[in-house]
Symmetry: C2
Subunit: 254 residues, 2 copies
DNA sequence: CGAAGCGTTGAGTGCTTTCAATAGTTGTGG
DNA sequence: CCACAACTATTGAAAGCACTCAACGCTTCG
């Protein structure tokens, strides 16, 4: 790679092979030939600005998106205009697959900050799955992971008090950043308090109050969007202090 | 036109072709040859009694289940033993697919009453998806439907008051029965109040009170497990009492 | 600079939960 | 067959957590 001047970067083809994230959005152990085939299908690096939509609810579904940078919020909305945030998505995640059954999107995806994504035409991807077995497996993998994540979310909203929900949310974010090589204890929240509250099934005021609480207790420092976690274990304690859950189960195999 | 080969009627086992539910658990428009192949893979009619588990969390994942009769509850449990019911499943539904990513089950499935299921070895099924494209599509379809359903559930628990949640739950059940040719206004609840409460993120007492409340208002009659819905529109009004949400789609057979 | 939007904080209300007691149901063993 | 235990369901009363309403400070941006 020549690192000369500002020359046409566009000439340097960004491929999955030199994308640091491909381990996240592609199946493991893809052979080079397969990756080439995939590369031919993918439209790379579409850049989107904060507030831009990747897709909207009821749009025809024909593209899957892989996040390269930035962060994206997915949400479903109701006729009344009420919104339900279903998740925040970071680089390496694949978006849009949940629309397979309907042929149109059932949620919307909007950039929370400037972001870049790869676009993958779904019909082409589906063709590829027949040639690359692990690709098919991977799509199922991605979807089943979303299901698990949703179940987790359900359990959280259904059973955990507000305190624990926010703590869990922050820990989850921390872990994601950590896994991507960023600091797990200091990061910026790209989403608004409103979005957080919505995702967690809380009122904005409650989220705000909880941030203050956590700060008062020395668990973290929060200033606007900037978060510094001082006591991860303390936050974890908060997540486990749900009313209806007494003893830490050892390892009895049910 | 292919005319079907002569078969020995006396030797007819239960096949997908003569199962009244195959439209629900199999992809549409499967050719006869394909169905035969599928038939060879499926172990039919395993009978399970109330309380028996189809699979448990952490079990190795190697089988997908199609419900033929009865009803099944799926739930996940957290490290400490707390349970979260993730759904009730009726004949025609496919269970277990959400474990694809982990190779072991992340939820448990237990019969709420005597039931019979078909077992489909997943590795064989995965092989078949390469030979039968629509089969692959169908599996994605099933999973993306589950994701949508989970999102719906999330929205419900996050945003709707208790009243609306139970009303919506009953309407959903009603619709499912209706779609399967049973009465949409009179049926039995195979699950306990506890299970309902758990699914809806409520306390058992709240569910009980709401049943009484609905009965007082003449919306339905409930006696133990037996439900008669008198005023479907009235129930729908209840679900829209909150700032948002759902109109259960009629005629979508999921 | 002023308007608009986001975020924080306070006070009061209310929906749901928890606690508690009573019935109805199921199952088991004498 | 009945008795007793265990479980499920219903109902009441009181308490609590999170929400709504409301005001204010801070930030962003035209």
């Amino acid at each position: 790679m020549k690192d000369s001047t500002v020359v046409d970067l566009s000439a340097i083809r960004t491929t999955c092979q030199n994308c640091g994230l491909y381990q996240l959005c592609l199946p493991m152990g893809l052979e080079e030939g397969d990756m080439d085939r995939l590369d031919k299908v993918i439209k790379r690096r579409r850049k989107i600005e904060k507030g831009d939509h990747l897709y909207r609810m009821r749009d025809a579904f024909n593209t899957v998106y892989a996040i390269r940078s930035g962060s994206v919020k997915t949400y479903t909305s109701i006729e009344n205009g009420a919104e339900q945030v279903t998740g925040f998505h970071l680089p390496g995640e694949l978006l849009g697959l949940n629309a397979v059954s309907t042929k149109f999107h059932t949620d919307s995806a909007v950039a929370l900050e400037t972001a870049s994504v790869c676009e993958i035409p779904f019909d082409r991807l589906e063709d590829l799955t027949r040639e690359i077995p692990s690709m098919q497996h991977h799509m199922l993998h991605v979807m089943s992971e979303e299901i698990q994540s949703d179940h987790c979310q359900l359990m959280m909203i259904a059973k955990m008090p507000a305190e624990a929900r926010l703590a869990r949310f922050l820990l989850s974010l921390s872990m994601h950043f950590g896994n991507r090589g960023f600091s797990a204890t200091e990061f910026n929240l790209s989403m608004s308090r409103n979005d957080i509250a919505n995702l967690l099934g809380l009122a904005v005021e409650t989220v705000s109050r909880l941030f203050s609480h956590f700060q008062d207790e020395g668990l973290l420092t929060v200033e606007r969007k900037h978060i510094v976690i001082h006591d991860i274990d303390g936050l974890m304690d908060v997540t486990t202090k749900c009313p209806s859950q007494p003893l830490p189960n050892k390892k009895s195999s049910d």
